[in-house]
């Protein structure tokens, strides 16, 4: 680590002594780990002297706009190259970003396509290189060099994302950096696919590349490449995509070099700096238009992916003047041996995504768009985990953190006079998809995931229903892919691929966009398995808006002890194309039918066994009794809801045969329900008195603050807690040990019973 405080118990050291200590420490650094000075800061670096001088010489807004457009086009070109040439599924669905960074390491201009949250995250490793390698005689940064990076503790979301970073020089001086980042998937972790939910420490999370030089003279060094290939399950992927990222960077570099040739280094430096400063100023201006107020909200995570529990994401959003402050204090303490923690930069990245996609979609992408917004967290919490905590499933916390932010921001937007998009309810936020791995029908070792994670349902808006399976919360124009193409590469079929899941809804005056069913079964491999890594099987991971409901819950269902491919050929009439029918009717004799939470660790699947999940719905908006009855009936017609739900929830009366609406009866039923609501209601003070409890319930493992006191963080029971500022280990027992203990207790009880009988 960098500076370590030297306790001086006897006397305060003099400045000379301090200098000596500092020199000694600098000369004897054991290990250059993640630097909190870099990792905790998401704002722009201060304007450098070189930038100041360049701006002094060239600051014409119109010329700068012209150069910026040219560099933007270069980034887009690089992005297209990565998307087209990349071998990782992530590259193909746009889980990619390319960008140009200032000489100080800030991301100034990013590709228009791709994953937005990267725009607030990929500057950290560059700053690490600048701080540690630039002047290190054993490393150095020279023309033709390229650095690779994937360890999220040095920046980025999780270790599946790999970046290639190239410095650009002009007349021997470093003028900027270019980088491309791709969600690669496989990284040699204890489970295939790069996002192990079984990881209990960073050592289980596969490749941990702090930024290091892997390219010299624009050539990838073969020895290092071989080492990296040797460390992962997909050496082919590692090779292909390192090359792809390098060539995309080189293409962007070409554009920069042309700009340097036509406009000179001052114009380039000035363009990069002023672009960021202008965006930052605009964000401050927009924030200042919001009403001064505070909104409090929370989201519940219902598991650690290993066990069921209740984990709080606490969020208070305050706007005052031109300051906007996200306060996540009170959220659950970090799990010492569970990977659902996130580094704080990951959380900030997702919040940046929120603003760039859901609040101000017209803003240019780059680090500056989130730079002036403040974020407060407890140290060593799930929202700001320590260096020693695993974070390979950080998506669980950054996505729920995003949703808490989205829910709070909606209330500001509602009251804001100038809107840049529609007020909307939260988007579905979990990656309900299958992660897979093993040996394919072509003999290749693979590990990755289905693109269905991109089909998250959109929240309803102020004036219409949410779109089904619209986009993941972390990208626009993402793709859920074509099964015919996937099946060429992997040895399983999606027997149900895209069929709307009936009643998996988020009702409201405007309902959320709904999710669809996926059923997979391995077919042509003896070495293949699946995993799922989501929360929300027991508690919805979001809230509805202004009376709209949250989504339903989505468990994992399995049917084992059957070869469904034999059934499909020999007795096809037994097969059903919905989870509901298969699990209720149980048509395959002798098979086992089970449901689970969505944190399934990697599990080898036998041929023909069924794994079934559903993509989720975005939240509803407004009171569902105000929903147009015609919309309710259309939902029945399109297989989104059952007639029973229409009657029970929406109170719509209709002829079940023709679906003709009885408007009079509907109005009567709705009036009756409104009266019933009034009858059920109690005054607020009375409600608080009966509802509030002093401590979390004893029968649930609860993590996070309880009630108003955000400084007391519970760690699984009313008896275990810590303060927000004083970290403590928070170990979870191995679920297998827990199960063994349960079974042993039952055996003991049976023994005791048996003893009595005997």
């Amino acid at each position: 680590m960098n500076k370590i405080a030297t306790p001086a118990k006897t006397k305060t050291p003099s400045s000379e002594e301090l200098a000596l200590i500092e020199k000694f420490l600098n000369d004897t650094t054991l290990f250059l780990g993640p630097d909190p000075e870099i990792m905790q800061n998401h704002d722009l670096m201060p304007r450098s002297a070189v930038e100041d001088e360049a701006i002094g010489r060239m600051s014409d807004a119109h010329t700068i706009a012209k150069i910026r457009d040219r560099i933007q086009a270069g980034c887009d070109e690089g992005y297209e190259m990565v998307e087209q040439m990349g071998a990782a599924p992530g590259a193909k669905w746009g889980d990619v970003i390319t960008g140009v960074y200032s000489a100080s390491g800030d991301l100034a201009i990013a590709s228009a396509g791709g994953v937005l949250l990267f725009s607030a995250l990929v500057h950290h490793p560059i700053k690490f290189i600048i701080k540690n390698w630039l002047n290190d005689p054993t490393v150095g940064v020279r023309e033709g060099d390229g650095f690779i990076h994937n360890d999220s503790r040095y920046g980025n979301v999780h270790n599946t994302d790999q970046s290639m970073i190239l410095p650009i020089f002009h007349d021997g001086k470093l003028v900027c950096w270019v980088a491309s980042t791709v969600h690669e998937g496989e990284n040699g972790a204890i489970e295939p696919g790069g996002m192990p939910s079984m990881a209990e420490s960073p050592s289980d999370e596969g490749l941990k590349m702090c930024p290091f030089k892997v390219v010299e003279n624009y050539e990838i060094k073969r020895d290092l490449l071989t080492f990296l290939q040797n460390s992962v399950r997909e050496p082919k992927l590692q090779y292909e995509d390192m090359k792809v990222k390098l060539y995309a960077c080189l293409r962007i570099k070409q554009r920069i070099v042309e700009t340097l040739g036509t406009d000179g280094p001052d114009a380039l430096v000035s363009t990069l700096r002023l672009t960021m400063e202008n965006v930052r100023t605009e964000v401050k201006r927009r924030v200042s238009e919001w009403p001064d107020m505070t909104v409090r909200t929370y989201v519940i995570q219902d598991s650690t992916l290993r066990e069921n529990c209740v984990v709080k994401v606490n969020c208070k959003l305050t706007k005052t003047g031109d300051r906007l402050i996200f306060d996540f204090r009170g959220s659950a303490p970090e799990f010492t041996n569970r990977p659902t923690n996130t580094i704080v930069a990951g959380l900030k990245g997702m919040l940046s995504q929120l603003f760039l996609c859901y609040v101000w979609p017209d803003l240019p992408r780059g680090q500056a768009a989130f730079a002036p917004i403040e974020v407060i967290t407890d140290p060593h919490s799930i929202m700001n985990c320590s260096y020693d905590a695993p974070n390979s499933q950080s998506l669980m916390s950054i996505f729920t953190g995003f949703t808490a932010g989205q829910h709070a921001v909606a209330k500001f937007l509602y009251s804001c006079p100038e809107k840049y998009t529609k007020v909307h309810a939260p988007t579905f936020n979990m990656i309900n998809t299958f992660i897979w791995g093993g040996v394919s029908q072509h003999g290749e070792t693979l590990g990755n995931l289905c693109a269905d994670l991109n089909g998250m349902g959109a929240g309803a808006t102020v004036d219409r229903d949410g779109e089904h399976a619209l986009a993941p919360i972390f990208a626009t124009m993402a793709d859920i892919g074509e099964q015919e193409l996937n099946e060429e590469d992997v040895p399983f079929l999606q027997l149900v691929s895209k069929k709307m899941t009936r009643d998996a809804i988020a009702p409201g005056k405007y309902r959320g966009g709904q999710g669809y069913t996926m059923m997979v079964a391995t077919k042509d491999s003896d070495q293949w398995g699946f995993m799922t890594t989501c929360q929300g099987a027991k508690i919805p991971p979001m809230q509805g808006l202004f009376g709209g409901y949250a989504c339903g819950t989505y468990p994992l269902a399995k049917i084992r002890g059957v070869d469904v491919y034999d059934v499909l050929l020999e007795t096809p009439e037994k097969f059903r194309h919905s989870i509901e029918e298969l699990m209720n009717e149980r048509p395959f004799e002798g098979a086992s039918y089970t449901t689970h939470h969505m944190g399934m660790g990697f599990e080898i699947s036998k041929r023909g066994e069924l794994f079934m999940i559903s993509q989720g719905a975005g939240a509803g908006y407004g009171d569902l009794l105000e929903r147009d009855p015609a919309g309710v009936v259309r939902d029945i017609e399109e297989g989104l809801i059952s007639p029973g739900v229409a009657e029970r929830l929406y109170k719509v009366k209709f002829d079940p045969a023709t679906l003709a609406i009885d408007h009079q009866a509907t109005a009567t039923a709705r009036d009756a329900e409104r009266k019933a609501r009034l009858a059920r209601g109690v005054p607020y003070a009375e409600f608080v008195k009966t509802w509030n409890k002093p401590t979390p319930p004893a029968h649930l493992q609860y993590f996070g603050c309880w009630g108003e006191d955000i400084d007391k963080l519970y760690m699984g029971s009313a008896e275990r807690f810590r303060t927000g500022s004083e970290p403590k280990p928070n170990y979870m027992p191995n679920p297998k040990d827990v199960r063994i203990a349960e079974l042993e207790a039952r055996l003991a009880a049976l023994d005791a019973l048996g003893g009595e009988k005997q």
Binding site: E83, K236, Y247, R251, L356, P361, E467, I480, E482, L495
Partner: protein, 711 residues
């Protein structure tokens, strides 16, 4: 040669007649209720020029060829039948979900980024008109679940009861095993025989698109089914009109593949965008005949800027999954990029960067630019062009639209001048610079993404605003030569007259040329050769059916290939159509490597990861006689003549040049081939304005061709 070619656009029907060495251009308004009327009127202008009767012309021409935007318009207007659809059970939501990203297909980047406002377009098939049938085959075409015929009959009845007027069938993996789709067609014919009232047309997806991808293929089949009757009736009416006027040859329809075929060999889907594609065809032909080298064809109109690439050596650029209106489809279409920049692009103040933004919003033609005086209050590119002195307020669009400079000035002043603290002229210059930069950036990206350097290209500029903006665009790209082509006002119709009869057949497959795991080269030569032979024969049969002689039929072979598990499929044109040994396999790999390296950079190839063929494609074609352009190259500088005195002067302002220029103005008709005019200058014609920026020369050539050459 005697030939008629027509481009039926949304506003005008353009006609180009070749008659024994004479070339006649004619235009008429498109008559949407009966396309034949507009066609007859346009052709009437031409035959009167020739002193002939309509029947005399039609009886003697070798062909009449149509390019049309009819299909595009029908899609935009959402006029089509009620479609019922059968898909593999478990895939019922594939089309409604449109791969998630369908909400943004066909939108600009802002529309794609704004997720709370995202909304999928109104569907061509309503969700409740899509039914699953119980069946399944796998990626190799092996049976997974047999087709449940009783289920099929029940689902068909359900769709018919719900009012289906046409049935589209799109089953998973039907391109590798179409048996279930074919059986469904048989069942449909059994239930609703074609000779009886109540017969229902059926479209099978594997017959519309030969590539894998269940969504894009279904989407293609839907668009095809949706347009089928509209296109059939409109084109049949045209054919009947020809017959009634003694035309006895088959009517030919231009395809977006860059070829053409008879009506009975044309899918509706193949006609979409055939007009702009014909323009690229004309560019290719012109480049080849006149030795222009690489050409980038640009068509700037009121709302859009179309870009097409034609390179020496015959490499074709296709989009295999183009977006048509808002729909992603699977059809090999000549590559065409459309940017949202045109005369109607709206300029606004960019508060964040304290400069001017231009587009993507457009004032279109209604209300149009502020200077049209039709209620438009926001400044547009045309307003800037007017204020900078380039346009004649009284003679714009042949005098059909009087322009009001005061309205233009007010719009610019109200929107930009206070914010930017500048004069109206300075603001207009910023608008002009911005829009030209936007187009230059789009063009640059387009060329560079394919591995080309803009400075190696000649720019072809056509469309109403092309010659007005081309110098400004080329200035930013290091392009030194711009050609406003001959017959530019009917350029797409010219292209339609030059295309060959062509059919493309392709098949998706999993064929490993080099297996990096086993380190083995492909050796199943029989399989490769059989597939190629089959595709060739299918194309041959298409052409034989249209009366072509077998000996006139040629084929070209293209392979879509990739390294490892990439998404990209680089197309390699393979001269040798048969593989007999390792040398042939290595030759294919070498060709692929060369094309890939050109596109993505030398050294970017990754054969170590394995090499695969994903698609084999064969184009079968018959070459026809083509329009002969005269030598339109500019005369050498020393042989160029001076122009006559200008007819007038106008005060103009130019980007990058301080102050006003008293700019001479000529009529295009007064400029003879070989004359050179140094910029700044304006040369006006009825259909466009040729703006020669300072530092450029205008050189007139034969057949109305006009060159802009950097001085």
């Amino acid at each position: 040669m005697r030939r008629v070619s027509v481009d039926i656009g949304g506003t005008f029907t353009d006609c180009f007649v070749v008659w024994d060495g004479k070339y006649i251009e004619a235009k008429a308004l498109t008559t949407h209720h009966n396309l034949a009327l507009g066609f007859n009127e346009a052709l009437g202008k031409a035959y009167r020029d020739l002193g002939l009767e309509l029947e005399e012309i039609l009886a003697q021409v070798d062909s009449v060829r149509y390019a049309t935007t009819l299909g595009t318009n029908a899609l935009i207007e959402h006029k089509g039948p009620r479609i019922g659809m059968l898909v593999t059970a478990g895939y019922e939501a594939t089309v409604p979900l449109s791969r998630a990203r369908g909400y943004g297909e066909g939108l600009d980047i802002l529309g794609q980024q704004d997720l709370p406002n995202a909304q999928r377009p109104d569907p061509l098939v309503l969700p409740h008109m899509i039914r699953g049938v119980r069946e399944r085959v796998d990626f190799q075409g092996d049976l997974v679940m047999p087709l449940d015929e009783n289920d099929v009959r029940a689902q068909i009845r359900e769709l018919v009861d719900r009012g289906a007027e046409i049935i589209v069938v799109a089953l998973v993996n039907s391109v590798v095993n179409p048996a279930h789709e074919q059986r469904i067609e048989e069942i449909l014919l059994e239930e609703y025989p074609s000779h009886l009232l109540g017969a229902i047309p059926v479209v099978l997806s594997h017959q519309v698109a030969g590539r894998k991808g269940e969504y894009v293929r279904a989407s293609s089949a839907i668009v095809d089914g949706y347009l089928h009757s509209t296109m059939y009736h409109a084109l049949s009416a045209l054919e009947q009109n020809l017959r009634a006027h003694r035309y006895e040859q088959p009517m030919l329809v231009i395809h977006n593949s860059g070829g053409m075929a008879q009506l009975n060999s044309t899918d509706a889907l193949q006609t979409i965008h055939s007009g702009p594609v014909s323009g690229i065809g004309a560019s290719e032909h012109l480049a080849m005949q006149c030795g222009l080298g690489n050409v980038v064809a640009t068509d700037m109109g009121g709302t859009s800027y179309d870009i097409g690439i034609v390179v020496e050596g015959g490499i074709k650029h296709y989009d295999f999954n183009p977006v048509i209106d808002r729909w992603l489809v699977s059809v090999p279409m000549v590559h065409l990029v459309t940017l949202g920049s045109g005369g109607g692009s709206i300029a606004s103040y960019d508060r964040m960067y304290d400069t001017v933004k231009c587009g993507p919003e457009s004032a279109g033609s209604d209300p149009g630019p502020a200077c049209y005086d039709r209620g438009g209050m926001r400044p547009t590119v045309t307003d800037a062009d007017l204020l900078l002195g380039y346009l004649d307020p009284q003679n714009y669009a042949g005098g059909s639209i009087p322009l009001n400079p005061r309205r233009a000035a007010a719009a610019v002043e109200d929107t930009l001048c206070d914010e930017l603290d500048c004069s109206v002229i300075e603001a207009a210059l910023l608008i002009r610079e911005k829009v030209d930069d936007n187009m230059a950036n789009g063009l640059f990206t387009e060329l560079r993404a394919r591995g080309y350097d803009p400075k190696d290209f000649t720019m072809l500029a056509y469309g109403g605003n092309g010659p007005l903006h081309c110098c400004g665009i080329a200035q930013n790209l290091s392009i030194d030569k711009i050609l406003a082509p001959p017959f530019s006002s009917v350029f797409s119709a010219v292209g339609a007259g030059n295309l060959h009869q062509l059919h493309i057949h392709e098949t998706s497959l999993y064929m490993v040329l080099y297996d990096s795991n086993s380190r083995r080269l492909f050796d199943d030569y029989v399989r490769f050769n059989d597939i190629v032979a089959d595709l060739k024969e299918r194309g041959t049969q298409d052409l034989l059916r249209q009366g072509m002689a077998r000996e006139d039929i040629h084929h070209s072979l293209e392979l879509d290939m990739r390294y490892g598990n990439q998404l990209v499929q680089t197309t390699a044109v393979i001269p040798r159509h048969e593989v007999r040994g390792p040398a042939d396999v290595l030759a294919i790999i070498e060709q692929f490597s060369e094309d890939y390296g050109k596109r993505f950079g030398k050294g970017s190839q990754a054969p170590e990861a394995g090499i695969r063929i994903n698609t084999i494609r064969v184009a079968a074609f018959v070459r026809h006689e083509t329009v002969q352009f005269e030598d339109i190259k500019p005369l050498p500088a020393e042989r160029r003549k001076s122009p006559p005195p200008p007819s007038s002067t106008r005060t103009c302002h130019f980007v990058g040049h301080a102050g006003a220029f008293e700019t001479p103005v000529w009529s295009r008709a007064a400029i003879e081939p070989g004359m050179q005019i140094a910029g700044p200058a304006i040369i006006a014609s009825e259909v466009t304005t040729f703006l020669v920026n300072p530092g450029w020369n205008f050189v007139a050539a034969r057949q109305g061709a006009s060159w802009f050459l950097r001085a």
